[in-house]
Symmetry: C3
């Protein structure tokens, strides 16, 4: 069995309050050898979809057997279940609200299991029901990373929740996708991947991007768009993204998540 | 003696400037085996009270012998003393401006000592007198975590400074407390604890919260207040907090720290 | 050869997107023993000058052999070269856009080498050309910290790029400098050092600071300026800084980077 030294965190707790620091304290009190890495704590509050996208973009870059703790949890304290997801390479701990949808999708055709965490003797004594990050998810990550076998945390389930994630519609010569994310630079990231494009065109460079009533062309790197305004690019995660060199396209055009993007 | 591998940081330095990174460099240059954890660096600038509250909420979740370095220090460079506080379980390093008041309160009846740090040979050579986080507190944390005995940093004192922290007034059937903190979600946290309530009521659920001319009831978890607007909850640290499900009560009502809250 | 366990990061990626977390994953997947420290990820977007100043302020406080990865890289994907700079004490990895100018200046008269990183077999397989932090700089830092000899990453070059950094003009009795940085507290930091002042005055205390049509005096620590408004101080990095006790001088006077400051 692989050593599970690494624990990576994604939350919507922000960096002002001590919530993230407290979770780290809890993990290290149980397993002083854990190596904890922040992915982000600035997920938009309660935005489960954004958390699932950020997780999808990040997790495969981490060492095998990393334990990901993902806490965006508007239903904390209600009957929603705490989960431990085990794939061929990684472990994921968080609420059963669809946050692991992208992990389930990536794992189709491979073996993976979803456990409902019920072994309360691994939890902290509960004070209130508003901070399961501290009282359930962090201690389970601590014990799991310390070597407790995953089966001891609960039973396998199959009715775990999935988000309805928008998938691009590919027809003969056109792809219809959506803006799914706006990054901190204001770049507007779509759900249309390089693979989608290669189904309708021989080359990514020859396509046109239609957004509202405008058309944009593709470039290979950001600086290539110096002086030409808005352009498209295959971003570093393999998706089409609209951008302006050294500026924010999303601010310029007031782009909102969910807007349609067409490729032809 | 316990190993003091863990060094946890609380400051008002923010995350834009390299101040926190420099403190970590200083600690690791002295003790490469130190394991440094951020609690928060976004304490409101110069807000000693907020820092003492954040410390009170966090420190007991950390491994025994953790060294806490707390730097919110408007008097840096003046005659205020640098302190090393030693409790049964932890070490605390920071300025003598009342920032450790909650630690003193928690330690009443137990053994604890407060040392005035004077052993300048453990400091960095001073360049300017504006960054004791780097020049005094970080190197002392480095040497302490490396195993230097605490007595070698200075002499015990008893006239250390305490903050005047507001305490709820509990009468026969009413508690008068205050809003002491507004978290990043806009929840308004009071100084009224579950223990205070149990002095006037048999059950936390049966109380009413009065704020200005409004009355609110209590719920068990956030989602229970979906559709009912503002409610109270015992938060994860054991205190009454006002909130709105998926919204900011403090923005809605323009709540300010220090406002009165009544329980009956 | 020294162990290169420590990898310190400076970027303009911010803390919302998972870019920094992904870089850490890449480094740890290659070298699980790496100890990664954040200096800052909140460099103003594309501000190479600011990154070079922050690096200059920080790096000498870190343990010997620390590997600094500095990614502020508006030219990513263009022909600008990736660099590995080796000084007597440290390693620096980042783009050849002048970001290491202050390192070159500090190293004058000492031995240092600048390598053009070309050994693509150490890179991640490229998906897109927009995220060299993940695909080039992080893996090279991983392999270097793991013990791969620096010569194996590329050939030495001498035509690396330098920024034109403003230097104060020192005449007989006057120094003309500039505001080069505004920190998170609103303090306005100049490029005039204690050493510059000692060329025209016997003592730092006796000088006057002229800014626009105002004159300010010097104090020894922040609190000394309580009630006297704006004052100057030698800050913790040895430079003159304008400040107001517990307030922001830059907000008060709408100070902009690049404004002239005179000392007499």
């Amino acid at each position: 069995m692989l050593e599970k030294t690494f624990v990576a965190l994604i939350t919507d707790f922000g960096l002002k309050d001590p919530f993230v620091g407290v979770m780290k304290g809890v993990i290290l009190k149980i397993n002083p050898a854990a190596n904890i890495i922040d992915i982000t704590h600035n997920i938009q509050r309660h935005n489960i979809f954004e958390a699932s996208q950020v997780l999808a973009m990040s997790y495969r870059y981490f060492p095998p057997a990393t334990v990901f703790v993902v806490v965006v949890d508007p239903g904390v304290g209600s009957s929603r279940r705490p989960l431990l997801v085990i794939t061929e390479d990684y472990y994921f701990i968080g609420p059963d609200n669809g946050i692991f949808t992208t992990v389930y999708e990536h794992s189709e055709g491979k073996s993976f299991r979803v456990l409902h965490i019920t072994a309360e003797h691994y939890f902290l004594p509960m004070s209130g029901s508003t901070f399961h990050g501290r009282d359930i998810f962090a201690p389970v990550a601590g014990w799991l990373s310390k070597g407790i076998e995953s089966n001891r945390f609960g039973q396998e389930i199959t009715d775990y929740k999935r988000l309805d994630i928008p998938i691009p519609q590919v027809s003969d010569r056109v792809i219809k996708g959506k803006v799914v994310c706006i990054d901190v630079f204001g770049n507007a990231i779509t759900n249309i991947s390089k693979e989608h494009i290669l189904k309708i065109a021989g080359d990514v460079k020859n396509i046109r991007i239609r957004f509202r009533d405008m058309e944009f062309c593709m470039v290979n790197y950001y600086e290539e768009a110096r002086g030409i305004g808005i352009a498209g690019i295959i971003n570093s995660f393999g998706y089409i993204e609209l951008f302006v060199f050294k500026d924010s396209v999303s601010a310029k055009l007031k782009i909102r998540i969910g807007e349609d993007v067409y490729i032809s």
